[in-house]
């Protein structure tokens, strides 16, 4: 197990470095001329050059990248010649827009994204798997038909449609829930009930979209698993139906679901762009969108790195869980 963990941790580092190189090249070596674009009404070539120096874009790409990576682990000095300042590690740079440290921006956005991702993931996993199992056990009957219909609908509907519909009906028309507030950052701030009300619609929006896949996946796997010989053997041995279904059936059927869940959760932690935008949640996704439109490359780069980290890390957790859930899988 330890060797596995070390191996995967090293792979995580290597993947992150590869991601950082690709992302860095994509954004900093691209055609976008941030310095020229940031030059205001009194734009002159001299001012563009000053902006380029101030943003650190005047140095060769390799130097820019190495300085960036150095900043991540040890901090670095930044800024224009007469306004140099120290950016402490982990230094993701400062915003091109307002000079705010990107690490501060990430720290501000992360609790919102965590709130959305964890709540939504809990709902779509529990209900998705639960409905999928129910549908499989009642194959061809009305619970199955209803589950398939709902999951088809969930797969088909885009997040903006569901989200805006929720906002319009539940918040604006019926006034059952408040508009999302950016002062609610966690179950402890200010309290669990406020937190629940604040994010419920965002969770449900994501749960409808993601949950549909879990229903379909669980249903298909359960149907397949419940037809296996060892299930028939278990039943023949006289094991209770609940034990057969959950201990032998679901445990085997759920491994692909765990894989998908790991990826989904990782992606959500990287920012649910559309949902965060619709519900005005200033998480990583919305931060990335705003930064992209403003060509605030350090923020975009940091969010991409964070997203990559979450996805890779979630995959490692999934690999570990595989071994726990399915004894046939061994980590070595």
């Amino acid at each position: 197990m330890l060797r596995f963990l070390i191996r995967r941790f090293l792979a995580l580092i290597a993947l992150l470095i590869a991601t950082s190189i690709v992302t860095f090249l994509l954004f900093f070596a691209g055609p976008s001329d941030v310095a020229a674009n940031s030059c205001g009404k009194g734009c002159t070539p001299e001012r563009i050059q000053q902006a380029r120096v101030a943003l650190g874009l005047d140095k060769p790409l390799v130097v820019q990248y190495l300085e960036y990576m150095k900043g991540l682990v040890a901090g670095r000095e930044m800024g224009p010649p007469s306004g140099r300042y120290w950016c402490s590690w982990p230094c993701f740079g400062t915003s091109f827009q307002n000079n705010r440290p990107v690490w501060d921006i990430i720290k501000t956005a992360l609790p919102f994204t965590l709130s959305i991702a964890i709540g939504a993931a809990a709902i779509f996993l529990i209900f998705g798997v639960g409905i999928g199992v129910t549908a499989a056990l009642h194959r061809g009957k009305w619970p199955d038909k209803v589950a398939v219909a709902i999951s088809s609908l969930g797969v088909s509907l885009p997040a903006p449609f569901i989200g805006l519909l929720f906002l319009w009906i539940v918040v604006s028309k019926w006034q059952l829930l408040p508009y999302t507030s950016n002062t609610v950052t966690s179950p402890w701030n200010p309290d669990p009930w406020t937190w629940f009300k604040n994010y419920l619609l965002a969770w449900l929006t994501l749960a409808l979209i993601f949950g549909a896949n879990y229903v379909r996946l669980t249903r298909a796997n359960m149907i397949e698993t419940m037809g296996e010989d060892y299930i028939r053997t278990a039943r023949a041995k006289g094991l209770p139906s609940r034990t057969v279904t959950f201990k032998h059936g679901l445990r085997a059927a759920i491994t692909p679901v765990v894989t998908v869940f790991g990826l989904d959760l990782g992606a959500l932690l990287g920012g649910a762009v559309l949902t965060e935008t619709i519900f005005s949640v200033p998480g990583l996704g919305r931060t990335a969108v705003n930064a992209t439109f403003n060509q605030d490359l350090p923020i975009v780069m940091a969010v991409v790195l964070f997203s990559a980290f979450f996805i890779i890390f979630a995959n490692i957790i999934v690999d570990i869980l595989y071994a726990v859930i399915d004894p046939r899988v061994r980590l070595n």
Partner: protein, 581 residues
């Protein structure tokens, strides 16, 4: 003054916000055009669009909190970098400037003294301007404000390697014989262009006559900055107040709260009624949600306004504005911005071709793309309606153009000549692309072939300024102060030595005699003369065709009083606003 980040792209952003559907959160990039916009918007631009209306005027009661609903974070609060309209509205609540542009909604803009006792006293050549400060001026910590604090604020604007987003008039216009480059690089140097003979006197020395010095000094670079509190880039997050409000708390991307500055003396400041006790801004709210909340007018949103362009109003919201309960809370005002189509005279050399293009374009259709009459109206001049009243005997040029275009007349004028032009469009702007296609069709009917060239958004203006610009492209201008001198020279004038077009003259007109005429009229503060030159250029040289004068429609909460759109910022005016509590 910039209406958002991209200086001359501002009009695009203004109307785009109104058009952007829920699937996009862009502020500056175009949204999609919808044919429904025109039918749902009032037919005529004037009173039906609510222009100049002040909601519940005459309110004088102090107290209460105004809630400001906002999307993204504003760029800068540091006065040296504050050059965008939404932060400008906040800026003039926090800091005072030497002079003040009074732009009470619905009234003609006027220049007033602010920190200064009176407007400036010029020398005979109008190169040197002297200002005496009021007495009893204090920063938020009680420290007296002196002329040296104002000079220090101006000095900071010379540190262009650090502060790159502010207005550049001080570095452009002041005397600077020793190449002063800000207070940090070489602290032993002095800014010769600003003198402070005593704590209550400040003297500005320009390199050339500046009859509009009073207007020029109304911009935020004359806000006083205490040297001891200047921590360079970080000053952005805690500018020291000299105005009626100070920052109580500020978490970028989340919230900003302004409360009363107890060291501001209302007796020293006739320009700011400062009615509310506080302003509470919430950031990070999706633009369509802002519009929805303002229209719904529930709970704390009864005290709410927005500083988003076009009041965050969405196309889908237009029918709701007709509802009497919402319409009573609806106001609109002209922004300082005019949009136009550049006809580059270096590329399209035949004036008749330029004129034919102007004749063929259906500008009414472009107005529809912009969202209809509420968001802007067709205009013949580059002079924004918001300042036309400041020009004696103002007249727009006689162009003889139909708002809906006349391709047949244009075709006949070309007399069978085969013309192909390249139209540049920012590659991420849906709205610009829609307008480009509209123009392509209009000109096709006139026998002109239009090739649409996509330009990366980030290098759009760089391309327009380059040695290989497109023949035609969209641009716009928003004046920095409401006079002709802040309108004609940048759009149609020359560079500093009048030998070539300036960086914002995208038409690249090269008639140095005209540049000299413009400079002479500026020196003489001859706004009528500038308007005549403008009209002569637009009607005879055809360097551009003005398209849309943009508006800033807003719905406010039902408790908001004295609500109107300010002329200078083209946003809902926080300065004159009150709140029923």
């Amino acid at each position: 003054m910039n209406r958002r980040r991209v200086m001359v792209a501002t009009v695009a952003g203004t109307a785009a916000v109104a058009l952007v559907a829920a699937c996009s959160s862009s502020k500056n990039n175009g949204g999609g055009a919808t044919s429904g916009a025109a039918s749902s918007a009032p037919a005529s631009a004037g009173s039906a669009a609510g222009l100049g209306k002040v909601i519940q005027p005459g309110y004088t009661t102090k107290g209460g909190t105004v809630n400001i609903l906002s999307d993204a974070n504003f760029e800068h609060l540091d006065p040296v970098n504050n050059y965008v309209t939404n932060s400008g509205e906040l800026g003039r609540l926090i800091y005072r400037t030497l002079t003040f542009i009074e732009d009470t909604p619905g009234q003609k803009p006027a220049i007033k003294p602010d920190l200064a006792q009176n407007l400036g006293t010029p020398s005979s050549d109008k190169k040197t301007w002297t200002y005496k400060l009021r007495t009893g001026l204090k920063f938020e910590d009680g420290t007296p404000i002196t002329s040296k604090d104002i000079k220090y604020g101006v000095e900071r604007s010379f540190a262009t390697d650090i502060y790159k987003d502010g207005a550049t008039y001080m570095t452009d216009l002041l005397e600077n014989p020793n190449n002063y480059a800000g207070p940090y690089k070489d602290p032993t140097k002095d800014l010769a262009g600003v003198q402070t003979p005593d704590d209550n006197t400040i003297v500005f020395k320009y390199a050339s006559p500046q009859p509009e010095s009073d207007w020029i000094l109304a911009m935020f670079y004359t806000a006083p900055v205490p040297k001891a509190k200047d921590d360079k880039q970080n000053y952005d997050f805690h500018p020291v107040s000299s105005g009626p409000y100070k920052i109580s708390s500020y978490t970028p991307d989340k919230s900003l709260t302004l409360v009363r500055n107890s060291n501001w003396d209302p007796a020293s400041d006739p320009n700011r009624p400062a009615l509310p006790d506080s302003f509470a801004q919430t950031l990070g709210i999706d633009i369509p949600t802002i519009s929805q909340r303002l229209i719904a007018d529930q709970g704390a949103d009864k005290n709410a306004v927005t500083l988003e362009n076009s009041g965050a109003i969405q196309n889908a919201d237009l029918p709701k504005i007709k509802d009497p309960s919402v319409n009573a809370r609806f106001t609109n005002g002209a922004t300082p911005c005019v949009d136009y189509e550049v006809l580059n005279v270096q590329k399209i050399k035949d004036v008749n071709v330029r004129k034919a293009i102007a004749m063929a374009i259906n500008r009414q259709a472009i107005a529809t793309v912009y969202g209809g009459a509420i968001f802007g109206s067709v205009i013949d001049t580059i002079v924004s309606p918001s300042i036309q009243s400041t020009v004696p005997n103002f007249a727009a040029p006689t162009l003889g153009l139909k708002p809906t275009g006349d391709p047949a007349a244009a075709k006949s004028m070309l007399n069978g000549k085969s013309v192909t032009i390249h139209y540049g469009v920012a590659n991420t702007s849906v709205k610009q692309k829609t307008v480009a296609t509209q123009i392509q069709n209009d000109l096709k009917a006139a026998g002109i072939t239009v090739v649409i060239d996509q330009i990366p958004q980030s290098s759009y203006y760089k391309t327009l300024r380059s040695d290989s610009p497109p023949d035609m492209a969209r641009a716009g201008w928003c004046w920095d102060w409401p006079t002709m001198a802040a309108t004609t020279p940048p759009v149609l004038g020359g560079n500093a030595d009048l030998t070539k077009w300036n960086a914002n003259n995208f038409s690249m007109t090269d008639d140095t005699a005209v540049f000299k005429k413009i400079a002479t009229a500026v020196s003489a503060a001859d706004s009528s003369g500038l308007n005549d030159i403008t009209n002569q250029q637009l009607s005879q040289v055809w360097p551009l065709i003005s398209t849309i004068s943009s508006n800033d429609p807003n719905v406010v909460g039902s408790n908001i009083r004295n609500a109107g759109v300010s002329t200078i910022f083209g946003e809902i005016d926080l300065n004159t606003m009150g709140v029923q509590h």
